[in-house]
């Protein structure tokens, strides 16, 4: 794996209030390796995968965020009968990742279920598959705002904040956190312009020091990285690692526009 230099110091730039255009900033050092993007977060090498999961090779840790299991049944409760296959689809994606990477640890970075009633609504087939996956490695649920401590009933470990090496894993990103924080919660999406059109996809958002994970869930929507909520987390602007059809593609923020 190619080793990368230390990230360049953040240039101090005032946050622009202008509408939905991300401030321009230097792209943090990163490398496209196969279908993925590698970069250093603090001192740790991490790999952004096309499925929207993050791989930390040194500790064989696989991180996914905002799975929102049972979102479909949550809507059905209120009368919107979305296809009941979202949980299963997410589980299959996870299974595939586990078979390929053989992780020692899996971290679900909060909002694992769409609501705290989710684990009870999960159907027997999906529950069985999840149990099987959980038996193959150390499984960590991180507390989310949607589901609280609900996933704990399914087993596995439960943390509010998890430290893995120099990385700090929590659901909601904190303002002015130290380098090495990995969070979810925001469901970042990027709208990339070019060739007279624009394309909107889920993405990782990072400034080279911290990272916000894309939502892993089947039905999860997204918030544009140009939204000002991201400016609080990345005052110097962020680079989007966009999930393409079958690979991750970094997009510099001059190519990003708001919704």
């Amino acid at each position: 794996m190619p080793l990368l230099s230390q990230p360049a110091p953040k240039p101090e730039r005032p946050r622009r209030k202008a509408v939905a255009v991300a401030p321009v900033r230097a792209v943090p050092p990163m490398a496209i390796v196969g279908d993925s993007v590698e970069m250093r977060l603090g001192h740790t090498l991490v790999t952004a995968l096309p499925d929207g999961a993050l791989w930390v090779a040194e500790s064989k840790t696989l991180i996914v965020s905002d799975i929102h299991f049972e979102k479909g049944s949550s809507f059905a409760l209120r009368g919107q009968m979305l296809p009941p296959y979202d949980t299963h689809a997410a589980l299959l994606k996870l299974t595939d990742l586990m078979l390929r990477l053989q992780p020692d640890i899996i971290v679900s970075l909060g909002d694992s279920f769409h609501d705290s009633g989710g684990p009870a609504r999960m159907d027997a087939r999906d529950r069985e598959l999840l149990r099987l996956l959980m038996s193959r490695c150390d499984w960590v649920w991180v507390e989310g705002n949607h589901d609280g401590r609900a996933p704990e009933t399914l087993g596995g470990k439960f943390h509010e904040v998890l430290h893995v090496g120099s990385l700090v894993l929590r659901h909601e990103p904190t303002e002015s956190a130290a380098p090495g924080e990995i969070a979810g919660h925001m469901h970042p999406c990027a709208r990339v312009v070019g060739r007279g059109r624009s394309v909107r996809r889920r993405c990782f958002a990072t400034d080279g020091a911290r990272l916000v994970m894309p939502a892993f869930g089947t039905y999860t929507g997204g918030l544009n990285v140009c939204h000002e909520a991201f400016a609080n987390i990345f005052p110097g602007g962020a680079t989007a690692l966009v999930l393409g059809k079958d690979r991750v593609l970094p997009a510099p923020n001059e190519r990003l526009v708001g919704d």
Binding site: P14, R16, K17, A18, V19, A20, V21, V27, P29, M30, A31, I32, K71, S73, A76, L77, G79, Q80, M81, L82, P83, P84, Y85, D86, H88, A89, D123, R191, V192, V193, G194, R195, G196, R197, S198, V199, R200, R201, T218, Y219, T220, G221, N224, V242, G244, K245, L249, P250, A251, P252, R255, V257, G258, D259
Partner: protein, 897 residues
């Protein structure tokens, strides 16, 4: 619409012979119900009008027209009628006259008489209900009939709606959506059970749509509650008369679905043979005078702007009192408006009117038109239907009309007077359109009409109706099925599909029965009647009624910055102050704005605007005063496809040298050279040309089937050429031709195999899976069927960005896990007719079997030139999406190297 003509323009029927005015009914209830006397004659069975009516007509020096009297006598016999009458023939009054006559005697019961709904009027336009109410109130007031006439639309305040439900008026004027809402309310049966008549205006515009599906189902429900009611359909242009009669009347539900009422109405029995007994036709008005602009300017090879004709059109407008300038898309409207003002040396008042403009702005234009303050209005289909806005004496159609019925409808906007001819001028914007305009002109003069064909009822609409019924009066599924198949649109619906649709409504209809506990509708174990699970589910349904699913729209607002502006001469303040959204100019499709980057300019509301960015549901813009050439909106979805009927006439004209004599010389020469350099195909043939140019190899075919169908064809042909190793790079579909280009010579392709009908099998299937059009078609079905809600109780207006999930994701999941789901089937059926026009591609492939003629040329032919000029604008969509991302990524790679 309602206009009463002075006596002079219409001969008074039969007065000398019968002298009926003195013997007219006295106005009491008894005499109204007494059989009317008819005048003996060949076709004239003219009943007498009760005296207040007779006197009212006479006092104005008017006479009722034969078709109006015919409707009165038919109503007396309890018969339903489809009235076909040209614009200006007072058909709306004809529709209401029987009701007014029946209601008149009730006056004697005094103002406290019971509230019973007598007549329901349905119009496709909200504005039309208001207009008709006003025009109906005039005679009702003048005759002192004491009839209660009210409208009910989305704008009606809740308090009045509530009052209307408790105390219905005699005549209620409303829209299909409001009817659906009434049916989905409790006590709907009580509200409707006194109903005597339903009048459906502009029926030809409603019947072939999803709104028509919902309306047909709603009418079937009304028949259960008020079995004796008669129906009156009103239309100016009808191509398929018998089809429309079937749509209007449906058939009787089978005996087991007979409902409470015993009374049977002969007119509502199975559709009569030939429909002839149901149709009443007013004599056609004066034939329209249609000219095709024979421009002195060079007629362009391609494009849709008609920029070359603007000076001549301006001269025409100068000689006219008020001209309506119809165009086919909003982008064209904006462009034409700009171009007309560019040459408007006399500063004539020329206005702009289209669906995206702010309502207040549109009302202003309409008022100015009515007041005679305008000389020309550039407009889109927003002014196709309905209301008279002033003395229009000329209709100009820019670009080809795409269909004869639409053309006739538009021409009818000029001179809304029965016996004077309407005048129209067609301005073709390119050479193929010259042929199309001529064909349309000939067809209208022959009285030949096309028109949208009636549809097979959509399952999404059926699902919405089932939910609506469950929210109103609980239903028995056998009875509802009988009711549903009594409509023409659902006549062939299998019971099994109906049952699956009920399951779709109840649980989402998934093979995995996970939602059985969350049913939206539940069946009473004792009575077996279905009803909504609870009040909140019903409320949610009522908030999402209707079949109009609009694209997500953004408000276009002029923006300015807050705070103290730096005075001239003082140094600029530090950084820009925040933007503030200002005046609203109108609405624009979200997808269009998505394609723009901040700083891009576009034409909107007659101005060149620069996009600053989007904030929540606002697109913030400033006027771009320094710009001359904006990036023009493309609104591709708003185009009408060329009708099959007109396409056929164009193909014949191409081959018929005699009919070409009327064509401008430029166009005649163009066809002549095509004959010399390639070939002009016979009407039943399809020409395919292959030729090299600029290092690429082209295959151009000329199906004349409209852009939508040819776009689908383009996708499928490209896939096949890919498999044949021809390395296709892109394709382009115009209204008339489709071109594919690639890196290998195309001359040796087996064309019979390439255009074989099996194309619609696997190739279509695999493409549909990814097609964005298919996804948006599905999304609309899902919304109509109630799987995805547009509106959630308590939430403010949503746009795509705020919705918590994307319908694309749902489509992908459903396609993967339950490809036979009933809603995917519904979406597929829609795609066949809608944006993908698969049905038409199928008809084309069948038509050209064994009829393909091929020319392998060393050069571009005259027919190919137009499509070559439009080339380079389109790539292959799926690949292009990824290319945008790759471009951006390569910037990174560059920065890192």
């Amino acid at each position: 619409m309602l206009k009463f003509e002075p006596l002079g323009t219409w001969p008074r029927p039969c007065h000398a012979d019968c002298g009926h005015s003195t013997a007219a009914a006295s106005g009491t209830g008894a005499s109204i119900r007494a059989p009317l006397r008819y005048i003996k004659g060949v076709d004239a069975r003219v009943p007498l009008l009760p005296s207040p009516f007779e006197e009212w007509f006479a006092a104005r020096g008017w006479a009722p027209r034969p078709h109006q009297l015919e409707l009165v006598s038919r109503a007396q016999a309890g018969l339903s009628t489809l009235l076909i009458a040209p614009t200006g023939a007072s058909k709306t009054l004809a529709g209401f006259l029987p009701s007014l006559i029946e209601l008149a005697p009730l006056k004697d019961e005094g103002p406290r008489r019971p509230h019973k709904l007598h007549t329901l009027y349905i119009s496709p336009l909200k504005a039309l209900t208001t207009d008709v109410a006003r025009n109906l109130n005039t005679p009702a007031t003048e005759m002192q009939l004491g009839v209660r006439i009210e409208t009910r639309t989305g704008d009606t305040p809740p308090s009045r709606r509530q009052r209307q439900r408790a105390h219905p008026p005699d005549i209620l004027l409303t829209t299909p959506e409001q009817l659906c809402l009434l049916i989905a309310s409790e006590h709907a049966r009580v509200f409707f059970e006194d109903l005597q008549a339903v009048v459906i205006d502009e029926i030809h515009a409603l019947a072939p749509t999803k709104r028509g599906d919902l309306l047909a189902l709603a009418l079937a429900r009304l028949k259960r509650w008020a079995p004796a009611h008669r129906r009156i359909g009103l239309s100016a242009t009808v191509a398929d008369e018998e089809g429309l009669v079937r749509w209007l009347l449906g058939s009787s539900p089978s005996p087991r679905g007979g409902g409470r009422g015993r009374q049977r109405n002969p007119a509502l029995s199975p559709a009569p043979q030939g429909g002839g007994e149901i149709i009443v036709k007013a004599p056609p008005g004066a034939a329209p005078i249609i000219d095709v602009l024979d421009s002195d300017a060079n007629i362009p090879w391609s494009g849709h702007t008609a920029r070359h004709a603007i000076p001549e059109l301006y001269e025409t407008i100068k000689r006219t009192k008020l001209a309506l300038v119809f165009v086919n898309t909003r982008a064209q409207a904006e462009m034409t408006f700009q171009e007309l003002w560019r040459v408007n040396e006399d500063s004539l008042p020329i206005a702009l009117h289209h669906g995206s403009l702010d309502v207040a702005q549109r009302r202003k234009v309409e008022a100015a038109m009515a007041a005679g303050k305008l000389r020309a209005v550039v407009c889109t289909s927003t002014l196709d239907l309905g209301i008279d806005w002033g003395d229009v004496d000329l209709v100009i159609q820019i670009g080809a009309p795409k269909g004869c019925a639409r053309l006739v409808q538009r021409i009818g906007r000029a001179n809304h007077r029965y016996n004077e001819p309407s005048r129209a001028l067609l301005a073709p914007s390119n050479r193929f359109e010259v042929l199309e305009c001529r064909s349309a002109q000939e067809a209208v003069q022959e009285g030949a009409l096309d028109g949208e064909s009636l549809r097979i009822g959509g399952l999404d609409c059926l699902a919405q109706h089932i939910m609506g019924c469950a929210c109103g009066e609980p239903f028995d599924e056998d009875e509802l099925y009988a009711e549903v198949i009594s409509t023409a649109a659902y006549a062939n619906l299998p019971r099994s599909t109906f049952d699956r649709t009920i399951d779709l409504v109840a649980t989402g209809g998934y093979a995995l029965r996970s939602y059985d506990r969350y049913r939206r509708i539940v069946q009473d174990p004792h009575t077996n009647l279905w009803r909504a699970r609870n009040a909140s589910v019903a409320q949610q349904h009522r908030m999402n009624v209707g079949a109009i699913v609009e694209s997500e729209m953004l408000d276009v607002r002029l923006a300015h910055r807050t705070g103290a502006r730096p005075r001239p001469g003082t140094p600029k303040a530090q950084g820009p102050t925040p933007l503030v959204a200002g005046r609203r100019l109108g609405q624009i499709e979200e997808y269009f704005i998505e394609g723009l980057a901040p700083g891009d300019t576009f034409l909107f509301a007659g101005e060149i605007l620069r996009l600053l960015g989007v904030r929540e549901t606002d697109a913030l813009v400033v006027r771009a005063t320094d710009q001359q050439t904006p990036k023009i909106p493309s609104y591709a979805g708003g185009k009408f496809p060329l009708s099959t009927f007109l396409a056929d006439r164009v193909r014949h004209m191409l081959h018929d040298v005699k009919r070409q004599k009327k064509l401008p010389k430029q166009v005649r020469d163009w066809i002549k050279i095509q004959k010399r350099r390639s070939v002009v195909p016979a009407p039943d043939e399809m020409l395919v040309e292959t030729f090299p140019r600029g290092g690429k190899h082209y295959l151009v075919c000329y199906p004349f089937e409209g852009r939508l169908a040819q776009q689908t064809l383009g996708v499928l042909i490209t896939r096949r050429l890919e498999r044949l190793g021809k390395n296709p790079v892109g394709f382009l579909a115009s209204e008339y031709a489709m071109a594919v280009w690639g890196l290998e010579p195309m001359g040796d392709v087996d064309l019979a195999a390439l255009f074989d009908e099996d194309m619609l099998g696997d190739d279509l299937e695999s493409w549909l899976g990814e097609s964005t059009l298919m996804k948006s078609t599905f999304s609309k079905c899902a919304v109509i069927a109630g799987m995805i809600d547009r509106n959630v109780p308590g939430a403010t207006r949503k746009t795509g960005r705020q919705v918590t999930f994307s319908s694309d994701l749902i489509y992908d999941v459903l396609k993967q896990y339950e490809p036979d789901h009933i809603l995917l089937q519904a979406a597929f059926a829609d795609a066949g007719e809608g944006y993908l026009d698969i049905k038409r591609v199928g008809a084309l492939l069948a038509r050209i079997k064994g009829k393909i003629i091929h020319r392998d040329l060393p050069y571009v032919s005259p027919f190919a030139a137009p499509v070559m000029l439009e080339m380079g604008k389109v790539g292959i969509r799926g690949a292009a999406d990824e290319a945008v991302l790759e471009d951006a990524a390569s910037l990174i790679a560059e920065a890192m190297s």
